[in-house]
Amino acid sequence: MIGTSDLPTLALIDERQLADSSRFWRRVSRWKGWPTTAKWLGFFAIAMIYVPLVWLAVMSISQSPLSGIPYPLTTANYAALAADSRWIPPLQVSLVMSTLVAIVCMVIATMVGRSITRMRRPGGVLLLTLLPLFVPGLTMGAALFIFLRTMLGLKMGYWSIFLAQLVWALPFALLLVLVIASRFDLRLLEAAEDLGATPWRRFWDIEMPILRPGVFGAGVFGFLLSFNELLRSLFLRGVETTMPIYNWAMAASQQSQVPIIFSLATIILVVTLPVMGVFFWFLFVKLDRS
């Protein structure tokens, strides 16, 4: 009897306390406006991303981009950009470099990703591969520079930029391949083997078509991440320049150069934004279905 009388008393106290102390909080938590507030907080943060981009485009056709007023409008910045050819080599370097990083990412991510899913204890390998995600870019760049340049005495150049960008892009590429590869049914390969398929045919005809979205995604992420990588390549560039380094140098140094990067960045945005928008739209719609 004593044991049973405890519980109701506890409940009673609890209820009374609730009624006394947390009436205010109840009212707060029942407020209908919370979802709307949450929504607009997020929209505010998203606006903080896209307002500068829109303003960038507006200022690229303004006479003095660093002042606040877009008027008078002019196309002089674009003319200056067309007359200036110093931005073309960095762009070419970036395009070639990103393509290389993307290809290497696809190959390594596929090889390692499909092997990890067959491991009994993949945790250690995974953690080691994903480690660069937990190291700030600048620190990784400084560490690589001190290791390669000062310790080993190597000459910096395109190869070290490539290495730095690969270290950054590969973890993402691997994650993308892993998402797809972990769903792969190994019995399909056994079936193919029983039916007499050679190892290469088993990989190319059975495994690859299923892994393809992940491999493709790895390539796209590799390209995009490498194309915009600044913090690591900045230290490992030697005397070479990529597009983000060029933009950074122009933005950081003389103000007279700024109008050019406004129009250059706008052109790159106009080209890349719709492509990325369509790509991610299809990616997410597809992921949503599967």
């Binding site: 109840r26 707060v28 938590s29 919370w34 949450a38 929504k39 907080l41 997020g42 943060a45 998203i46 991303i49 896209y50 307002v51 500068p52 981009l53 303003w55 960038l56 200022m59 660093l66 002042s67 606040g68 007023i69 390594i108 092997s115 067959r118 390998v125 480690l131 995600l133 937990f134 190291v135 700030p136 870019g137 600048l138 620190t139 990784m140 400084a142 560490a143 001190i146 290791f147 390669l148 000062t150 290495l163 270290v167 190994l186 083997e193 991440l225 915009n228 600044l230 900045l234 950074w248 933005a251 950081a252 990067i261 406004f262 945005l269 990325m276 928008g277 991610f280 739209w281 997410f284």
Partner: protein
């Protein structure tokens, strides 16, 4: 059977060895290097505390404290903005196209050039910028507000958009995994929305919150472009110090500062794990989500 299905058993070990050489070894080397000296472009392999003494004497520890303060403040601001938004996006937003558009909008910034995004804030926040122009022309302020640009405010403001997606994504993903039935059950049992949030949604989404904090704090600890372009020399962070040390060829100093970045991050992450482990048992949470 599985062995026969992995034709390239060499691939993973070879990759791991190479990866350790280019990722782990450099990180160990900088710790070691901060105790060495460089004399006439040559590394002197004699251990010395000289670099660390000069780092402490020259007041760089103030920079470390400032970096930590700004990084933690920004992480908290992003968390306050992102947690409710992720909850709304995962549970409140019923329209599928709207969801896909928002996710796309949050993904694109990962692939945009930082410098040109940040430099444009100058023409928004500067003394001749659009904000000040509008404010003065409307007569709200008499003269341009000078602290809008080249101040800690500007640095925080410029970081706001850049580090938002990294916080939203992990929280959103883990919240999408929470079964609606749990929330329904909680309210059926008489919990107010606030109690459901505190006792059901928060514990279950904690792994996502931890991941979000990690992925936001890590780049913030070595933020470089925002303080450089919006701080106007007044907001010197560890990232800028590493850069200037490298440009002045003070390699051991750069190594010591990088070590500080990694060490501070390690302390923050350890504290994060300790706090969350004390409050909630992580493993049961994972099990709850798996079910």
């Amino acid at each position: 059977m599985l062995d026969r299905l992995t034709p390239s058993g060499v691939a993973v070990p070879a990759f791991l060895i190479t990866w350790s050489l280019v990722v782990i070894l450099p990180l160990l080397v900088i710790v070691l290097f901060s105790f060495l000296q460089v004399k006439s472009y040559r590394v002197v392999y004699v251990p010395t505390l000289g670099t660390w003494e000069s780092v402490i004497d020259s007041g760089r520890w103030i920079v470390a404290v400032r970096t930590l303060r700004i990084a933690i403040t920004m992480t908290l601001i992003e968390l306050l903005l992102a947690f409710p938004f992720a909850l709304w996006l995962a549970k409140g937003c019923k329209s599928k196209p709207a969801k896909a558009i928002i996710i796309t909008l949050l993904t694109i910034p990962f692939f945009l050039d930082t410098s040109s995004r940040i430099i444009v804030w100058r023409s928004i926040l500067g003394t001749n910028g659009i904000v000040n122009t509008v404010l003065t022309s409307m007569g709200i302020v008499d003269e341009p507000i000078s602290w809008l640009l080249y101040s800690e405010f500007a640095v925080h403001f410029g970081m706001l958009g850049s580090y938002f997606p990294t916080m939203v994504f992990p929280i959103f993903m883990i919240m999408s995994l929470i079964d609606d039935d749990y929330i329904q059950a909680s309210s059926d049992l008489g919990a107010s929305p606030g109690q459901t949030l505190l006792y059901v949604i928060l514990p279950m989404s904690l792994p996502g919150v931890v991941a979000g904090v990690v992925f936001t704090l890590v780049p913030l600890m070595a933020a470089f472009v925002e303080p450089q372009m919006l701080g106007g020399g007044f907001v010197n962070l560890l990232g800028n110090s590493v850069n200037s040390a490298l440009q002045e060829l003070k390699y051991p100093t750069a190594a010591a500062l990088s070590t500080i970045v990694v060490a501070l991050l390690g302390v923050c992450l350890a504290a994060l794990i300790l706090i969350t482990r004390k409050r909630f048992d992580m493993s049961t949470m994972f099990q709850a989500i798996r079910r």
